[in-house]
Symmetry: C2
């Protein structure tokens, strides 16, 4: 059976064989009768839906899912002059700051230009501190070029600067550059850490606790790895806070069918916009210590805290303040990125992870594993170096840098407040305060008749809602089902990134649509 069947024979078989009759190891009839673009038969494709990696089929990533593909199609149609009830698609589906008009930080881009084309070091239009930073980075690169591979763990100088940043951020808690791994955005490091953790089969298969709602990188990575996803629910009625009782419930239920080994926390929250209290973080750490769970802290929004009385506390800092009983026991990986905060440099794919109490033998395995991909992108490493080592008060670029940084964060704070205020005025929409991060995850009431219609179409009700919102208003948000939500509740995630003027229009359109949609299906 290793020789391909002739097209005509294959076609004959596919017509005449009834399903129970098997052809041994051959792929299914469906794949064996695939048509080519010219209408010819593919007698036997190697790679089909039936024969591909089954784990990958279970991967989902709503942030760039069908709703975004529809949005791009609508944009194309608008460009081609097709009439729509709107003149522009406003996308709030993804935390893509620059795409929404946010300007890059001047200092960062000056240094990147200098690193890219070191001729410019002779140009007196560039400030001296930018040149100093560029020289320092280039000296740490092989052959003085950002085109050389770096060490697989990342450029040593950058890892040292990251460590110093963490020490400053955490009020003196020590950090070791050997525990820093630079990465291709935070997603890369998170997926790598999860990969290390996965083992066992059946009831001993690794389970990983993730919040619901979650950022779907987690569910996607777990599906890819064939690991068990353990859901713990955030408390929407209590501003999406995390309660240890719920962690315990979820863990105990999971222990019956898998081996729970890790607990993932996102703070500030994506998609919730919640900022965890110091007390909550302490409780989570104590829980992880008691239950012997590896802690993964996704802290990529650490500068994005807006609400009065809220403050970012890193898991690392709280862990060390809890004393050696915890700081010498709990295994922690925390993640940061160049893509969020005030810089929003998503395209550079920069990031790092810090590991605490990682078994030295496992650390050697991690270093080996990352070496297979050679190194994270060096321009992203250079950018990360600037994020953790920005202009200082005595340097010429300081005031411009601070003005730019402050302006971005102030605008985000204003938009966070505005989003909450306007959405909460819409009957049938309820929205927790956006304390941090870049998202609101409002709950929406969907009328029974709309739920019925969605079911008829084979769509989740919130997908139906969001698709209708997109088609009628040109507003692109992501259905709550892509992040997870309690059964019978419906949400969407929107970013607060559109420029203030546009965000106002955006929110007005959501309001108008929700009222219209509710009336239509009542």
């Amino acid at each position: 059976t290793s020789l391909p069947l002739s097209p005509s024979l294959s076609f004959f078989l596919s017509l005449t064989l009834s399903p129970p009759l098997s052809l041994g190891d051959c792929p299914s009839d469906k794949s064996r009768t695939n048509m080519t673009e010219n209408g010819l038969l593919h007698p036997e494709r190697v790679l089909t839906l039936d024969t591909m990696n089954p784990n990958i089929k279970r991967v989902e990533y709503a942030v760039r899912g069908p709703i975004v593909q529809r949005a791009m199609q609508l944009e194309k149609e608008l460009q081609e002059g097709v009439k729509k009830p709107f003149t522009e698609v406003i996308k709030a589906n993804i935390g893509d700051c620059h795409a929404m008009g946010q300007q890059p930080i001047t200092f960062f881009r000056q240094v990147l230009a200098l690193c890219s084309y070191p001729e410019l070091l002779n140009d007196n239009k560039f400030p001296e501190d930018a040149k100093d930073r560029a020289r320092r980075i280039l000296q740490a690169c092989g052959g003085g070029s950002i085109g050389a591979y770096s060490a697989s763990q990342g450029i040593e100088l950058v890892r040292q600067d990251v460590s110093r940043y963490i020490v400053r951020r955490d009020g003196g808690v020590p950090s070791n550059p050997d525990n820093i791994y630079l990465s291709t955005g935070a997603s890369d490091a998170i997926a790598t850490m999860l990969k290390l953790l996965v083992s066992g089969e059946g009831p001993t298969r690794t389970g990983v606790m993730i919040s619901i709602p979650q950022y779907p990188l987690y569910s996607a990575a777990l599906a890819d790895l064939g690991a068990i996803q353990i859901n713990y629910y955030l408390d929407e009625s209590n501003n999406w806070s995390l309660a240890v009782g719920e962690l315990r419930r979820a863990l105990e239920a999971a222990r019956k069918h898998c081996n729970p080994r890790a607990l993932c926390v996102i703070n500030p929250g994506n998609p919730t916009g919640q900022v965890q209290s110091r007390q909550c973080i302490e409780d989570v750490i104590r829980f992880a210590a008691e239950e012997n769970l590896f802690l993964m802290a996704d802290e990529v929004y650490q500068d994005n805290v807006y609400a009065e009385g809220c403050q970012f506390h890193s898991f690392k800092k709280v862990l060390f303040e809890m004393g050696p009983k915890y700081s010498e026991k709990v295994e922690l990986a925390s993640f940061h990125s160049t893509s969020k905060c005030y810089m929003g440099e998503c395209g550079f794919r920069g990031g790092y992870m810090e590991v605490i109490n990682l078994d030295p033998a496992v650390k050697a395995q991690l270093t080996k594993l990352v070496s297979v991909r050679l190194c994270p992108p060096v321009p992203g490493q250079a950018l990360l170096d600037l994020v953790v080592n920005p202009p200082q008060p005595d340097e010429p670029s300081y005031s411009t840098f601070m003005n730019e940084r402050t302006a971005v964060l102030a605008a985000l704070a204003e938009k966070a407040r505005m989003t909450e205020e306007i959405l909460n005025k819409v009957p049938g929409i309820r929205c927790n305060p956006v304390q941090g991060a870049m998202y609101s995850f409002p709950q929406i009431q969907i009328p029974h008749k709309a739920i019925e219609e969605a079911k008829e179409k084979g769509q989740a009700p919130d997908m139906f809602y969001c698709m209708t919102l997109l088609d009628e208003m040109g507003i692109c948000v992501v259905p709550g089902s892509g992040f997870g939500q309690r059964d019978g509740t419906y949400h969407f995630r929107m970013t607060i990134l559109p420029p203030t003027d546009k965000l106002k229009i955006f929110l007005a359109k959501v309001k108008e649509f929700h009222q219209r949609f509710t009336e239509r299906y009542s």
Copy 2:
């Protein structure tokens, strides 16, 4: 048993329990008695060698393995003033062009600087063609910034430019931008394609054919995925050429224990430096068609062809020239990168893959899968755009670009010739011509006594040889065992990248060492 044992109890248990006595689901004693840095006991670490992902433990990547760590240690000791029998470590372990002194292509870096800091578009020091390219790339980016995420498959404009490049390269064979996926270097795309292909368990588990010697990304990715590696041997006595008879032997043997589904070919060869003939490529394609194998063509060295009478033929081009019987059937993925050829921009992690005859349903799954990581680094995408769309004869940067490009390739050709010539003068070293790529993979005679000493040390004989070469001469090459070789033969891989002067010293040192080593152990 979910509560941690107290340190003292754990210590007691580890002393008194004999191995057959089990503690149920607890990790092994070894992991339970790990010491902290302060000498305290870790009662129960979550993640240990015993409990981590077993596939990852099997991953190996010699190019950055123990020999390189030793080289870095030696460099540090030299810096600290420790006396060595050499004053400098010359590294030829990795194809890292810029680290070895190769200069970046001016035009590429000008455009990257302009994209990084678009203020420079007003600077009249930059040539107009560089500015045009930068404007064109920025217009294709969200918000006009390389800091925005791109589409997950890559910027559409860049994919179009890649397609046009392929059409030109392949003498008019059509290419569809929808079949182009930009990637984070070629490694990323290769690992992703392998991931899609892996399914089944036991005798139905996916097997993938790779050459021996191979580039260890392949063996590493297959180990990570738990897929079966099927070795086919290149013919060293015939200049490392690929023979279909050997493919058939390997395939038939493998069919007894797994499901062979893919065939990987590296051309020009890494580590062999061989350039495949058109006839060989045709034979391989016919074999893949007959045996229903998915073809993966690693063509990252496509510009690196030096030998008289050798020419690069892409698998895509040969496939289409073989007519619709093949071009409409054979599933092919071919890979390219910004890291090699004349540009050698490894740090940017740019690359692409073109897929041919991929099942549309699988293609949708591939697009979904890459969306989870959001997008390849945008600076690397911009760089790739320049590689596939370089200055044209009527543009101001053309002559500088061509001079730089030609100089790099001419120097490599000269070094390829020199490497072969000098190594073949050493008794006990035999080296095939370096027709292309950036490597020589000479066979070395290791005396019996040295093999015995290596065995006593628990080292592979060629690792022992290379470690001694490094310690005595400061020369860093990678043992053949990291790439695979026929049992009883020994090799090392060296790059031809050191500057000509240094390469001469390098080769003289290898010669001196080999003679001394042979005498010592005779």
